[in-house]
């Protein structure tokens, strides 16, 4: 479970990125974080993975009150809260297999366990036949699938996705979302920040709309309101 309790975050010299956010996300939920650029979506994700500490309020993930975790122990959280990014963050000098294996190597798994689990997640993202290729030999959609495979290998409890479809065409974006939904169906909480209105409107999941650092709406089967409002105002 993820709980934001009156969380505010201010960056030095800038206006607040988040203002007094209070929200709960239950285990196994699929949640969209939507809102215009600068609304605070990425800040929320970075707070959940303890890349940032709130200026005030508390963020709790399962049994962890994140502000209290010492720096030397953050890796325990990161093994349970994995992230997928718009720019994939793959190691270009390593093969698909090696990129995914990194997610297991840090857990101290042996070569046999790694081989078994890597093949399993590569087949989940339909890349089992491309395990020997390097990232630059893959399409953008395939690279994002490698990134997802690396994130889900080892069975994290929470998957954060920060604009995972931002660099992809609509069809490929749909495929990525299919994979994220499949990951969610096996019990992983998925929180996805996105600007992709059509995906949000089509898939009808819980949607947290952020605007200027505050929660504008929280709907069980939401639509892309904030984006529309901004366009209407523009």
């Amino acid at each position: 479970m993820i709980r934001f309790d009156h969380v505010s975050k201010h960056y030095p010299g800038h206006r607040g990125a988040l203002s007094d956010i209070t929200v709960d996300i239950a285990d196994g939920e699929f949640v969209y974080l939507i809102g215009p650029s600068g609304a605070g979506k990425t800040t929320m994700l970075r707070l959940i993975m303890r890349d940032l500490i709130p200026t005030s309020g508390t963020v709790v993930v399962d049994e962890w009150k994140l502000s209290s975790i010492p720096t030397s122990q953050i890796h325990h959280l990161r093994r349970r809260v994995r992230t997928v990014y718009q720019d994939f963050k793959l190691l270009t000098d390593r093969t698909v297999y090696e990129n995914v294996a990194v997610g297991l190597e840090v857990l101290g798994k042996n070569e046999r366990e790694i081989a078994k689990d890597v093949i399993k997640v590569l087949s989940l993202v339909n890349l089992e036949d491309k395990y020997g290729l390097f990232p630059l030999q893959l399409s953008a959609g395939e690279q994002q699938r490698v990134s997802i495979a690396r994130a889900i290998v080892g069975g994290p409890k929470i998957l954060l996705a920060d604009e995972p479809t931002g660099n992809l065409d609509p069809d490929t974006a749909g495929e990525i979302l299919d994979i994220l939904e499949e990951v969610n169906s096996i019990g992983t909480t998925v929180i996805m920040a996105t600007h992709n209105a059509s995906l949000v409107n089509e898939r009808k999941k819980r949607t947290l709309a952020l605007d200027d650092g505050s929660i504008h709406s929280d709907e069980a089967k939401g639509r892309y309101h904030v984006q529309k409002k901004k366009h209407a105002n523009a």
Partner: protein, 302 residues
């Protein structure tokens, strides 16, 4: 040891940097090893000369054995003598005969009567030689019983100053090279950390512990030290074995060198070589790991 494998991967991916760091370590340990061995050898030579009678007091013919005993007691009372030995005229003749056994003409001309009795004095430390010389010079009735005093102070002084010079010059040069090697390892590891910034960021994202990220860099520095130390040891031992005949001809009078150098497969030679390797490996490991730890501490803060 996954972190060790990762370190090996880092080294293979940038071999020139690895070679630079290993070469710096090699030169450091080659020079350090050379000066270390020279210091040990000079200490052994010094010990050999210190073990020899350093002062020889020749008595006049009228001096009795009681006179010699009186001087012996005075010298021993100072507490600065390792050994005081009275050599009678007959013992002096026996020594003379041994020395000139191949020259019958010289042996025929000499009898025990013309050789003086003497007192051979060894000091516990070369620094006491001056004090012992003073004691002999001021000994009561010296002029009546003592013919001549000969002592090897000059030889020992020269050896001490050479030995000290080797230690100082060797120490300074080894220190400077060690600092140089340390800086090269720090620079190489710093560059590698900078080059692997993306990888480190990804490792942090997927939950790598700080030591999982740091250890390969520490191993890398340690490996440079170990390789440099091993290579320098091989060269040093190779040179010693190669120069063995020359070294033996110079140092044949000193039994320790004869024992050690006469057979390179002897237990004592092998033990000494293994001890040198052990010392160099430990120092190399520490130097490498300190260099990389400084860089890791500076560039990998989390």
């Amino acid at each position: 040891m996954r972190t060790l494998k990762t370190a090996w991967k880092h080294i293979r991916r940038s071999p020139y940097q690895a070679m630079a760091a290993t070469l710096a370590m090699f030169l450091t340990f080659l020079l350090t090893g050379f000066f270390f061995l020279t210091s040990v050898a000079s200490a052994v030579i010094l010990q050999y000369f210190e073990g020899k009678p350093q002062i020889t007091v020749f008595f006049r013919d009228q001096a009795s054995q009681e006179d010699a005993s009186g001087l012996t007691t005075t010298l021993q009372a100072s507490g600065k003598t390792a050994q005081v030995r009275y050599v009678t005229k007959e013992e002096a003749l026996a020594t003379y005969k041994t020395l000139f056994q191949n020259d019958p003409l010289l042996l025929e001309m000499v009898t025990a009567d013309i050789l003086p009795a003497s007192l051979e004095v060894s000091a516990t430390s070369p620094q006491y030689l001056d004090d012992l010389a003073q004691t002999i010079a001021s000994y009561g009735g010296k002029g009546d019983i003592i013919e001549e005093v000969v002592y090897q102070k000059d030889v020992v002084d020269a050896l001490i100053s050479w030995s000290n010079a080797i230690k100082v010059i060797g120490g300074v040069l080894a220190g400077l090279l060690a600092v140089d090697a340390l800086l090269i390892v720090m620079t190489v590891i710093g560059m590698k950390i900078a080059l692997r910034r993306d990888e480190i960021e990804i490792l942090k994202l997927v939950g790598a512990s700080s030591w999982y990220i740091r250890l390969p860099f520490l191993w890398e520095g340690a490996l440079y030290g170990i390789w440099g130390a091993t290579a320098s040891w091989a060269v040093l031992i190779g040179v010693i074995v190669w120069m063995r005949p020359v070294l033996l001809s110079f140092l044949e009078a000193i039994p320790v060198f004869v024992t050690v150098l006469s057979n390179p497969t002897s237990t004592i030679f092998l033990t000494g070589s293994a001890a040198l390797l052990g010392i160099l490996l430990v120092t190399g490991f520490l130097l490498g790991i300190i260099g990389s730890a400084v860089s890791v501490g500076r560039y990998l803060k989390f």
